[in-house]
Symmetry: C2
Subunit: 137 residues, 2 copies
Amino acid sequence: MIIKIGELAKISGCSVQSIRHYEKEQLLSAKIRSDGNFRLYDQADIERLLFIKYCRSLDLSLAEIRQLLSLNDSPMSQCDDVNQMIEQHIEQVERRIAELTLLNKQLKALRGSCTSKRTVEHCGILKQLNKAVSQNN
Amino acid sequence: MIIKIGELAKISGCSVQSIRHYEKEQLLSAKIRSDGNFRLYDQADIERLLFIKYCRSLDLSLAEIRQLLSLNDSPMSQCDDVNQMIEQHIEQVERRIAELTLLNKQLKALRGSCTSKRTVEHCGILKQLNKAVSQNN
DNA sequence: ATTGACTCTATAGTTACTATAGACTTTAAA
DNA sequence: TTTAAAGTCTATAGTAACTATAGAGTCAAT
């Protein structure tokens, strides 16, 4: 079964532009083109794109996915590389979670500090922000 | 006390380019320039920049900060606007935390699935990824 | 007067796309 | 068979919040 880019977009749930973008980034290429220069894809391409999409849903960068795909393409390479990448990615995600959790606390502390219907002159949030600034200074 | 941009960068911990960027984005402007066209800042500018920096550390966007600053500058406006913005921001942060937490779980499940020293041919991580893809399909 | 440090503007690069313009191709109906 | 709509092509610009660079001008000290 051979399909064009619009069909592939529908099947995969990716946008047409994304697919062209992945091609530019060397993650996925239409090996053949139609007479009119339209990209043509087969089943293997569909699977490759779904793989890419799944990895993106894990927040892996295109560079990381490119690496995974090339490991996948050359079966003699070592697992260690894959492991190490995933490990680093986990650390990065955990750092980000910690940051956001702290952030959330601070924002919630702010939220309580301003009662409605007052003018900003006495706005608790702005007061708190300004206070935080002068303390950090 | 009047200082130039390099000094302001040192005091605030922002880069020189960031400060110029904030000016382009209308968050902070050097009201005066030297004869040689150098930006000159005073104490109020330092405080304004520290305010910006603190808000950035809360992950507020430059657009949101611009809004806060303009509320701060016009004391007759309503607190409600500030409250609403912070509220939305909290929601956004919480959504992101939830996403990342799920992500983290999935990554950790992956991590265990590949033992070292094997070739990628039998790499558990890649196997799992490919499996996930075919299931979602 | 000259050197080195600093500053200026303007531009390109980062990431993973989205959106647009203008031209060409394909498919379906009239 | 013509024509119109829908799809596709490339290339370019925009998004966010910067960072990095080039090339030119300014300032302070020697």
